[in-house]
Amino acid sequence: MRLYAYCVGDELAAETFEGATGVGGSPLMLVRRGAFAVVVSEFEGDAVPASRENVTEHNRVNALALARSTPLPFRFGTLVEDARLGAYLAKQEATLVAALGRVRGCVEMGAKVIWDAGGRAAGAVEEDEGEAGESPAAGAGTAFLLAKRREVLGEEALRSRAEGVAAALASRLEGLARESSVQVNPKGSLVVRAAHLIERGREEEYRERVRALGREREDLRLMASGPWPPYSFSGPRS
């Protein structure tokens, strides 16, 4: 029998997880090793199905932990034998202490930026293509618009515009984000995927800043999410 590992922390308390269950309905347990505690549940099987329920459970358990303190979440599907877990924690102690220090007092928030190619501001994106966005076959319409826009603007121009969007978001969040992890995808509709580490208590300020940018930029749709456990800030710094 292996353990499904949800997260590791140095401020986790057993009572937070009393009576609660995790992936597959197994009861949650807190395993203490040295300075660390790991939230686990027993798991039968060799691999974790990536079902809607399991993914939701994984995140729910981590959110439960996040409500009290900021843990380092493991990736979905992390299975470990008890003895191995102890060995890992002992071996990685210094790294984990540093990683926990990095996220302490913080939560992760996310922002996604979508080009609104065929929607409310088609004219602002491509002046001569406004009417195509009103086609009832909206999926095909948007694909067409995107392909057309790539052709017209060229990849360089798209890249530069996408980087401009990322810069606008970064500038908007200045002084709020302690760290950021940003992916820019000029060719897609989802042009920027960003994760930010922010201090607890400032979640609404984050959402409001993201919304404000959305109000200013009619050519973009912005979507803020969180608070999340620091999924994007638990691994090695990239």
Partner: protein, 81 residues
């Protein structure tokens, strides 16, 4: 009301997509000591692909969310430009 139900479903799907986006390829990974073993990963994308590929659906959900926010703020809804 059917439209409202569709939008609620959209919200749920978006929320699941956001969760997937966070838990599937991010988080602490320990090579050698811990196994990342995920099965049936394609299953969860059945039904979600439509949404992933459809900017319109995302826009609808976000548009509805914006309208609700504006309503909550007591602002007049935006005219569809």
């Amino acid at each position: 009301m059917t439209d409202a139900e569709l939008i609620l479903d959209g919200e749920e799907e978006l929320s699941l997509l956001e969760t997937l986006d966070h838990v599937l390829d991010r988080g602490l990974v320990i090579a050698g000591e811990v196994t990342i073993a995920v099965a049936d990963i394609d299953l969860i994308y059945v039904g979600l692909n439509v949404l992933l590929g459809s900017v319109e659906t995302v826009n609808e959900v976000l548009g509805e969310r914006e309208r609700r926010l504006e309503y909550l703020r007591g602002l007049a809804p935006k005219g569809g430009e």
